[in-house]
């Protein structure tokens, strides 16, 4: 029983990681007042770039770097459209999603000729699981041993990085000057402007951070969790991350828990695939796959109270004639 629980929780961590990166990415962006529907596209673009670069250079680190660069470039496109040109942020985000979905497959086919995939990566070109110190020694200790060795140890470095990013994000947003200004432009950009701050610059900075975090998310999918890029491998994670963000009321620690919840439901769905549930019989796997979405709708519909987004979210800043 303990083994089963540990297995499910273990895969919960793995499945939560890309969501968590993306959710924190969205948090920076939306806290600054930029709605980002394009998380999905950035994840996908980063996943492709990471896999391609990791394959060519046989290094996961170069892969990660390439993923981040591509994701930041896409973020800057979104920034240019929605900050400098004051365009519609939803339209720009959707455009980025389409762009990424099409270009990754197109370039993948042109470069590697494997039907849009990138070639499978050897373990040298991926982020491998790390065994934490003493994990093997402690594995035999009852209860704590399996938890430490099986659950806490044995993940790749990006999993740890995603959870480390949570307190870091909280600290930046709530304890630094940058965080204060970031929240101010998201709530009332005029207030920031009259206080002598550049709304444009602050929003660009938030967008770039968003790009970096999406880069991590995408790289994780293709060169840490997976071993190569597959068409549409982000599979809606960017959108689930957005839902998680609303659910978390734009707060970093909440974001971690909501991402873990969604990850857990995912893990459960995989675990229960094809299994008999006592008294009910075999439940179609689609029921479990649908659960995160059903849960989002139900919870957003009223169980978490009102989720109030940053007030200026989605509104381009124009100096008003007063």
């Amino acid at each position: 029983m303990l083994d089963t629980i540990i297995l499910v929780l273990d895969s919960t961590f793995r499945l939560s990681t890309p969501l968590l990166f993306a959710c924190l990415a969205g948090l920076f962006s939306e806290r600054s007042g930029i709605v980002d529907i394009g998380l999905e596209g950035k994840i996908l673009g980063a996943a492709f770039a990471a896999a391609a670069a990791a394959y060519v250079f046989q290094s996961p680190w170069i892969g990660l770097l390439a993923g981040i660069i591509v994701s930041v470039l896409l973020a800057l496109v979104h920034g240019y459209a929605s900050i400098s040109q004051r365009g519609n942020q939803v339209v720009s985000g959707v455009a980025i999603n389409f762009l990424a979905a099409g270009l990754t497959v197109l370039l993948g086919q042109a470069w590697f000729a494997q039907g849009g995939r990138t070639p499978a990566l050897s373990s040298d070109a991926r982020f491998d699981s790390l065994t934490l110190p003493l994990a093997d020694t402690l594995a035999d200790v009852p209860v704590l041993g399996p938890i430490y060795a099986g659950l806490i140890s044995g993940h790749n470095i990006l999993v740890y990085a995603s959870f480390a990013a949570v307190p870091l994000t909280w600290w930046i947003v709530f304890r630094t000057r940058f965080g204060l200004r970031l929240r101010a432009v998201g709530e009332n950009p005029s207030a920031a402007d009259t206080a002598g701050l550049s709304v444009t610059l602050l929003r660009y900075r938030a967008t770039i951070i968003c790009g970096i975090l999406c880069g991590f998310s995408g790289a994780y999918l293709s060169i840490a969790q997976g071993a190569g890029f597959i068409k549409d491998m982000s599979a809606g994670k960017g959108f689930i991350a957005l839902a998680a963000l609303i659910f978390a009321k734009w707060k970093p620690v909440n974001a971690m828990f909501t991402c873990l919840l969604f990850g857990f439901l995912d893990a459960l769905a995989i675990r229960l695939q094809g299994q008999e549930i006592p008294g009910i019989g075999e439940v179609p796997v689609q029921v479990f796959q649908a659960l995160p979405y059903v849960l989002t709708v139900v919870l957003l519909a009223g169980f978490i109270g009102r989720a109030i987004p940053p007030k200026a979210s989605g509104i381009p800043y124009v100096k008003e004639r007063t």
């Binding site: 304890r175 000057r177 204060l180 009332n188």
Partner: protein
């Protein structure tokens, strides 16, 4: 004060255009150190634009700005702050979910981490609050504070940044009279401590009450500067409007006819189920203005909403031109309009206009189904624009364009758009709420005259206003509401004191 003869601010030949509109024309202004200088003008006279130039929000097209006698440029707000200029905007520039302290330090945090800056700011804020008698809880969330205190945060924000010159843009628009008096006390303290205050307003009383010197703007130009002690309200009003203004309304004798509006036993609950209008009955006759006085929130809004068909009453009947209606039954605003009653709502932004619609679209709101505005299934835009243009001319709506969105007109002109729409349909009964709220004096005079025209034409007018002066000068009879009840009826000759007591709910029978 190194040299008190050097003016704190001097503007020479400052001009600014927005496209074809020249907002500021060749402005000269001298503001002495340690004084309260008023800038008065009607809405749209260019006061706010001028101050925005001084605060680096806009760039002047030409002209010189001198701060402390030295010619300078103010490219952005940051630079204005650095040169000791602080501004309290008409719409507060505050971040609602932030605490007072966070709002004060935003942009002047004193280090990349907040911890140390916050501790310093807390000390400094306490010192400022003590020095200028502006008590405030630094940890209160700004969005939860009353507007008077929010404004205090804005002033503290400017002082915290070391402002020597404080610009206040229409600071009393959102304040109660008591809060406004407190603000003026603070401004005097600031002046006595050597700060310079620039007070932008369109209210004459404020200028007379608190300023040392005053400059008058009209249509983008600076038309005069005076010592406040050497001028009068009448002179300033004339300078503002460019012609002599009657501060009194001319109210001719009109023969009063039969009752056009009768209200009987009206009870209205608000959305929370609280009874806000309690058994109110009255009648308004042809050629008569009935004023409803009362402190805001004593049931007047609910009364208007029920009569105009916006909300349903608990019970009560209304007789409109002889036709009887059950107000607790099903009816709506369109039906009331069809029956010859039009309504100028209290809050024109929420109920009178759609701010994002163009002027001509707003000019037919509620009347858009009338055949003369349609061409088959579509709107007959030519006809609508033609009529809108006629009204613009007749009601002197400025700027004279049918295409600008309602939001961009000044308050007085917005009100004229609503007024034109509701009067030109030739109603028998006009309900009008707060007709001159946020409206400048030139337009106030105009609106009052239109109401008097309605009266002269033998219409019945129900006027609801919290401005006692307005009620007294326009009404033939006055009823006073307190806590949902009609607590008294008086003639037009009633004294302010008498009405004031009724409005405060002092029991008259006991007093007599």
């Amino acid at each position: 004060m190194a040299d008190s003869n050097v003016p704190a601010i001097e503007l020479i030949g400052v001009s600014k255009s927005f496209g074809p509109v020249q907002a500021n024309k060749d402005i000269d202004l001298v503001v002495g150190k340690g004084s309260i200088h008023g800038i008065i003008g009607e809405n749209g006279a260019g006061k706010s634009t001028l101050m925005s130039i001084l605060y680096g929000f806009y760039h002047a097209d030409s002209g010189t700005i001198k701060v402390d006698g030295k010619a300078t440029t103010i490219p952005d707000s940051k630079s204005a702050i650095a040169q000791g200029i602080g501004m309290v905007h008409q719409h507060f520039m505050l971040v609602d979910p932030f605490t007072v302290l966070e709002n004060v330090i935003l942009g002047a945090e004193g280090g990349a981490l907040l911890k140390e800056g916050v501790a310093n700011a807390r000390r400094e804020l306490k010192r400022l609050a003590d020095e200028y008698d502006m008590k405030i809880d630094p940890d209160a969330v700004v969005g939860e504070l009353p507007v008077g205190l929010q404004q205090r945060v804005e002033i503290l924000k400017a002082l915290y940044r070391g402002a020597d010159v404080l610009i206040l843009d229409e600071p009393t628009g959102v304040l109660t009279p008591a809060e406004a008096d407190h603000l003026f006390r603070i401004l005097r303290v600031l002046r006595d401590q050597g700060k310079t205050v620039l007070l932008i307003t369109h209210k004459l009383r404020e200028i007379m009450d608190v300023t040392d010197t005053v400059s008058v703007m009209r249509r983008g130009e600076m038309v005069a500067s005076r010592k406040t002690a050497e001028t009068s309200m009448a002179e300033l009003a004339e300078l503002m409007v460019g012609r002599s203004v009657l501060l009194e309304v001319d109210k001719p004798e009109v023969e009063v006819g039969k009752p056009l509006l009768k209200v009987n036993g009206l009870n209205v609950k608000d959305e929370r189920g609280v009874l806000r209008v309690k058994d109110v009955s009255f009648e308004v006759r042809a050629g008569e203005v009935l004023g409803i006085a009362g402190v805001s929130g004593n049931g007047q809004s609910e009364l208007l909403a029920a009569l105009s068909g916006i909300t349903r009453a608990e019970s009560g009947t209304m007789e409109l031109s002889g036709e009887k209606l059950d107000l607790s039954g099903k009816h709506d605003a369109a039906e009331m309009r069809d029956k010859g009653m039009s309504h100028v709502p209290e809050d024109r932004h929420r109920m009178g206009l759609i701010n994002k619609f163009a002027e001509y679209e707003n000019s037919i709101l509620g009347y858009h189904r009338e055949p003369k505005y349609s061409k088959g299934l579509f709107l007959n835009k030519d006809a609508i624009r033609k009529e809108a243009n006629e009204r613009i001319e007749k009601y002197d709506i400025r700027p004279p364009t049918t295409e600008m969105t309602a939001a961009k007109f000044s308050g007085g002109n917005q009100q004229k758009i609503v007024l034109a729409r509701e009067i030109e349909c030739d109603p028998d009964v006009l309900l009008i709420g707060q007709p001159t709220r946020g409206v400048d004096i030139g337009a106030i005079e105009y609106i009052h005259n239109r109401i008097m025209d309605m009266r002269a034409q033998g219409k019945a007018v129900l006027l609801v206003s919290v401005e006692l002066d307005e009620i007294r000068s326009l009404s033939d009879r006055i009823i006073v509401m307190f806590d949902g009840n009609v607590v008294g009826e008086r003639g037009a000759e009633a004294t302010e004191q008498d009405l004031g007591l009724l409005m405060a709910g002092v029991n008259q029978e006991a007093a007599e």
